[in-house]
């Protein structure tokens, strides 16, 4: 089994879903049984969940959508 240091060095790539199958399995196996690393994994997982919630800040307003759509139609009319 890989050591804590190796598992932690790959933690973000593991959570990003960017590791090859063999490496992913090794990290997963380590986290399943390591009481020292699991809380760090769980904390980073919470970070991603938080960032995803925060990203909803980016929802464009109805006005923006309407204005953009209008400009797209005008651009198409101008192309004719």
């Amino acid at each position: 089994m890989i050591r804590c240091e190796e598992a932690m060095a790959r933690l973000w790539e593991f959570l990003d879903g960017e590791l090859e199958d063999v490496e992913e399995a090794a990290v997963r196996k380590h986290l399943e049984v390591c009481h020292r690393c699991y809380p760090k994994y769980d904390f980073q997982r919470a970070y991603f969940e938080y960032m995803r919630r925060t990203s909803r800040h980016g929802e464009g307003s109805v006005e923006l959508r309407r204005e953009l759509f209008q400009k797209l139609l005008e651009q198409e009319a101008g192309d004719d």
Partner: protein, 220 residues
């Protein structure tokens, strides 16, 4: 997929990867556009591009909305150059960033660092370790205590090269290869900047948390 250890002392449920946003559905009102496929492939990413624009402009809502409009108008004008069914999201993020940089007359800083993978992994270790010393072990409830405005402020204060990678990954759900395409840099550079950005952000959040009393410091 969840993997659970069935025997032994520890029973941790571990998930590889993270939940990513599904592709948004196209909106009916836009289907009258003549540009074939634009309504179905490009417009659903408006909110995602708007989120990226907001962080590029460091929360300037007017500038972000102008940037979104410029991005989509440009994408619409050059829609014939887009390969249908490829990756509209990455393509739009690329246009958005280039439009922003062009507007600011900024030069794109390109560099290649041969030791980038090693550095990136060291960044992970450093970040994970930083939370393990000097304070009680943080847990997921830490994030429930944070004030969203403080987090947004911390993101906006990141240096450009770290901020854009972090936003594309952690808020925009792009994979490393997609970010590399948007920024026109090697994947190793993406990882290095991303991990460094996360480390800086998490250290700043920790500072907020300590200052606000969310995390107790034992030996500082």
């Amino acid at each position: 997929m969840a993997w659970t250890m069935l025997s032994g002392r520890g029973v941790h449920q571990v998930h590889a990867g993270r939940e990513r946003a599904p592709r948004p559905e196209p909106r009916d009102e836009a289907t009258v556009l003549a540009a074939e496929g634009f309504a179905e492939e490009a417009l659903p990413w408006l909110d995602a591009v708007h989120g990226f624009a907001l962080r590029l402009t460091r929360g300037d809502r007017d500038a972000a909305e102008d940037l979104v409009q410029d991005t989509f108008l440009r994408a619409h004008r050059f829609w014939h150059t887009y390969e249908r069914g490829s990756n509209a999201r990455s393509w739009l993020f690329t246009i958005c960033r280039n439009t922003f940089l062009h507007g600011k007359q900024k030069a794109i800083n390109r560099y290649e660092d041969s030791t980038v993978d090693l550095e990136a992994r060291m960044e992970t270790i450093a970040a994970v370790s930083a939370w393990g010393t000097g304070s009680k072990r943080p847990d997921r409830e830490f994030f429930d205590q944070l004030i969203e405005e403080e987090v947004i402020e911390a993101i906006d204060e990141l240096p450009d090269e770290f901020r854009e990678v972090l936003v594309l990954s952690d808020m925009g759900d792009l994979k490393y290869a997609e970010i590399a395409e948007v920024l026109d840099v090697p994947v190793g550079t993406v990882k290095s900047r991303l991990f460094r950005g996360r480390r800086i952000l998490q250290e700043r959040l920790r500072t907020f948390a300590v200052r606000s009393g969310y995390v107790q410091v034992e030996d500082e």
